[in-house]
């Protein structure tokens, strides 16, 4: 059966995840024109996609571009994790503005058939007594500023979808890690001594950036309506992750945490509240529906993703074979 070739617009194309999604969409037979927006340029070479550098706060240009592109599918990956690509205040402002401006503009597109919104399992929060491995039926109850940002994105996407009368796939990914992914959790785990809670050291799950991109592309193709968790199998604890990377876990009890956070920030690895929550309360979710809803399941386990985080390509120093002319 021949499928219609569809126009796809990717917001947040300059992020590692957005760039990966664009790269994968370029190889999909059902995808025609690909347009991207972000404040940063894509992090990998794209052959077919067209990129537009637009500030998230620039509503006029955003509306103009999105209505001109008139996408069939809008992939909204314009989510700034605090201390990943932007400081917490900027990340919160940009995420909120991008959700309203970009998803709002999508409603104006006549050809729109569906929206895919990148969210995260941080949206579930981790209050006392809350289930430790929530599924999609658990109502979001964020307990950190990043969780609230994600909930705002989800609500805006649902509102936009309802207004346009199209399905909205909300892809709630576990913390996305990879050797080159800007992530406060990844940076903290790569410190020489990794701060951990001596009293808790709970387990958490992550997701490889390639699996996250694969899930978003599958969602763009299938356009399911509603949330779906995408989480790598298995879990690790902070101390375990540190040892897997031959780092030393630094057990802390409580009062010394502010000092540890200051020191970590000084070493280029600030620890925002949602990462601190992972350290103290853990974070996992039930991702068993992903395979059924999206038709793809993460290929790398949490342990494999953590191991890959510590793997760096070996640098080969080549000797010149002949003198330069």
């Amino acid at each position: 059966m021949t499928e219609w070739v569809k126009r796809v617009l990717i917001t947040g194309m300059g992020s590692e995840l957005g760039s990966h999604v664009a790269s994968r969409l370029e190889a999909e037979p059902w995808v025609g024109a690909i347009t991207g927006i972000d404040v940063d340029p894509p992090r990998r070479r794209l052959r077919r996609a067209t990129f537009h550098r637009i500030e998230p706060l620039d509503r006029r240009r955003t509306l103009e571009l999105i209505t001109r592109a008139d996408p069939h599918v809008l992939v909204h990956a314009a989510v700034w994790e605090p201390n990943a690509r932007a400081d917490p205040a900027t990340a919160e402002r940009w995420t909120a503005a991008a959700a309203v401006n970009m998803l709002g503009a999508a409603v104006e597109c006549r050809s729109l058939e569906g929206i895919v919104a990148r969210s995260g399992i941080t949206v579930y929060g981790r209050g006392r007594g809350d289930p430790s491995r929530p599924d999609e039926a658990v109502p979001p109850a964020p307990t950190t500023p990043f969780g609230h940002s994600l909930l705002h994105v989800e609500r805006t996407a649902v509102e936009a979808g309802a207004t346009a009368g199209v399905p909205v796939a909300i892809v709630r990914v576990a913390p996305v890690l990879g050797p080159h992914v800007p992530s406060p959790l990844g940076r903290m785990l790569r410190l020489p001594a990794v701060p951990m809670s001596l009293l808790a050291d709970p387990s958490f799950s992550v997701l490889g950036h390639e699996d996250a991109a694969r899930a978003i592309v599958a969602a763009a193709h299938r356009l399911p309506d509603g949330p779906v968790n995408v989480v790598a199998d298995g879990a690790v604890t902070i101390s375990q992750a540190a040892r897997l990377g031959s780092r030393w876990p630094l057990p802390l009890i409580g009062p010394e945490w502010p000092v540890a956070r200051l020191l970590a920030a000084g070493l280029g690895s600030p620890i925002p509240p949602h990462v601190l929550e992972i350290v103290h309360r853990g974070r996992t979710a039930d991702g068993s529906r992903a395979a059924e809803v999206l038709g793809v399941a993460p290929q790398r386990t949490t342990v494999h993703v953590i191991q890959a985080l510590y793997e760096w390509a070996t640098v080969l120093h080549l000797r010149p074979t002949e003198a330069a002319a």
Binding site: R128, G129, D130, P131, S132, R133, P134, D135, A137, V138, S197, L199, A200, D201, P202, S203, S205, G234, A235, V236, T237, S239, Q240, A241, A242, R243, L244, H280, G282, T284, D286, S288
Partner: protein, 212 residues
């Protein structure tokens, strides 16, 4: 169990911890230590499925550590690790109990474990009086078994706070009347409680109600 191998795994970070916090190494160590405290006899091991989601309902005598006895006895007999439902969500006791397989008292926790093919164990309400009566079962937690079509297995523990001998009796799957909606969970909870009570009554030696 090789304690040196466990220590090596823990130091290298190559041990396994699941999404709820269970560490099989910790369970092995606890089981070995429990062997010094209790002399366990387990009956009816054939009633517990060797794999797949299974909900266990067990009587609860806190002073006799009946849940710990059930956990260790069933692991020794069948190799399956009970996930005791109802641990506190407070550090440091909560995280330690998680390592030993504990989970929170929440229907989502029970449903998630069943979907993952595990064996959550719901304790009956704690009974502090030595009258041999089994406490009621939380119907909301049992409801997860209906949604996942998991069998409900009653387990009775006979132990005392000071004695060395303890007995774990596993019964056949509970059969409740076929109902729909809220009545189905309520009837299944009642049937599970009755099955645990029956096991307790059958296994208790005459004149030894203080054991349960």
């Amino acid at each position: 169990m090789n304690a040196l191998a466990v220590a090596r795994r823990q130091l290298a970070g190559t041990h396994v911890v699941d999404e709820w916090g269970l560490d099989p190494d910790w369970v092995s160590l606890a089981s070995s230590a429990a062997g010094l405290r209790w002399s366990l006899a387990v009956g009816g091991g054939e009633h517990l499925p060797s794999r797949g989601p299974t909900l266990v309902v067990v009587n609860n005598r806190p002073l006799a550590a009946s849940l710990a006895v059930a956990l260790i006895g069933i692991r020794r007999e069948t190799g399956r690790v009970l996930r005791i439902v109802g641990i506190p969500d407070v550090a440091p006791i909560g995280p330690v109990l998680r390592r030993l397989g504990g989970v929170l008292h929440h229907p989502q926790e029970v449903a998630g474990l069943l979907r993952a093919g595990q064996v959550p164990a719901i304790p009956c309400r704690a009974e502090w009086r030595l009258n041999g009566r089994v406490g009621r079962v939380d119907a909301e937690l049992v409801g997860a078994a209906i949604r996942t079509s998991a069998p409900v297995i009653p387990v009775a523990v006979l132990a005392s706070p000071w004695g060395r001998h303890a007995r774990v009796e596993i019964g056949p799957a509970v059969r409740a009347k076929r109902r729909r909606g809220p009545l189905a969970t309520a009837e299944l909870a009642d049937a599970a409680r009755a099955a645990v009570q029956r096991l307790v009554d059958e296994a208790t030696p005459p004149g030894a109600r203080w054991l349960v």
